[in-house]
Point group: C2
Chain length 196, copies 2
């Protein structure tokens, strides 16, 4: 996910997304995020004057947008193509990192906020999930799924793939993703009868 | 998940499981786990001489066994009853904690090991997932599911519920769990024709 972003600010954001997906947000300092992105600490404070929470929020949005762009690109060919793009992205991240990296949105989602206020990074995580679900649900509806069922299946797809990435990391195996993928493909076929 | 364990050693383990599910493992010190369980730090080192990784491993096993026991208790009534027990457990944890706690097994699964050696807590997380999947898959097979499909559906169920818990925490809403539950119930009906 870090990729090779040419823009230095964006490179720091991409590096932060990768690091949060590996270690979680609380356990990662802004100093480590800067180092991970190969950026001087000073430039990190220059670009992100509000500090770690600002950088983390942008990192979550970066990951959210990366997935959303991929979904928007592939969904015109149908929900199965969107699912495949979503699966392929996580497969690459998990395998290329030796099961060490995963989804920064999930990582932020499962960390308790330090106070009762909702931290902006957590709000960004909720927005990323919402966006992915909406894109998938709209596509399912456009391909003949019942509206209520489309919403349920979209949530299930996002949740199942996110959960499976975590299982793959624990097991050091990509097999859970293959199993989940097979079932989700079949489910999409079932709820979009126009496609069969 | 902390519950009210009468045994002091077990109370520390249960408290650690709860804390890991809220904050992750790397971000939690053994001192904080002791404090969270209301135990003196000295007794924590007494019970867990190998320190944080030992306590974390037992915490993951504790959570794994809690779920497995619940599944073993409910699955004789069929896979749908097992799913319901799994869903009910996470619903209670998420709602009772105000969306702050979740699954310690997932939390440990998505943290990069500090070295190339597999930490025992991560191995315990993989074992917990395996155990839950095996229990569900065996039940699905016993109720008429095709063996290969039973394995896929069991993985999907565990992954989807785990991922949904994370989505609920990010969104501060239990709605994702209701959506996922509806689809998983339907899927179990589809693959266990003997039950319909």
């Amino acid at each position: 996910m870090a990729g090779s972003e040419p823009d230095p600010r964006r490179r720091i954001v991409a590096g932060a997304a990768d690091m949060i997906s590996r270690r979680g947000l609380t356990a990662t300092s802004i100093r480590e995020m800067a180092k991970h992105a190969g950026a001087p600490l000073g430039s990190t404070y220059h670009y992100f004057p509000d500090g770690k929470q600002q950088l983390a929020t942008e990192a979550v949005r970066y990951a959210g947008d990366l997935v959303s762009r991929s979904l928007r690109r592939e969904l015109p060919a149908g929900p199965a193509a969107g699912l495949q793009a979503f699966l392929d992205m996580w497969r690459t991240i998990v395998l290329d990192s030796g099961f060490r990296a995963g989804c920064p949105v999930l990582a932020v989602a499962i960390e308790e906020p330090p106070t009762d206020d909702l931290p902006p990074a957590l709000v960004a995580a909720a927005e990323a999930f919402d966006q992915w679900e909406t894109l998938l649900a709209d596509s399912l509806r456009a391909h003949g799924a019942d509206p209520g069922e489309a919403a349920e299946v979209a949530t299930l797809i996002i949740a199942a793939v996110e959960g499976t990435v975590a299982m793959c990391r624990a097991k050091r195996s990509i097999e859970p993703l293959d199993r989940t993928a097979a079932q989700l493909r079949r489910l999409i076929d079932t709820v979009t009868p126009a496609e069969r």
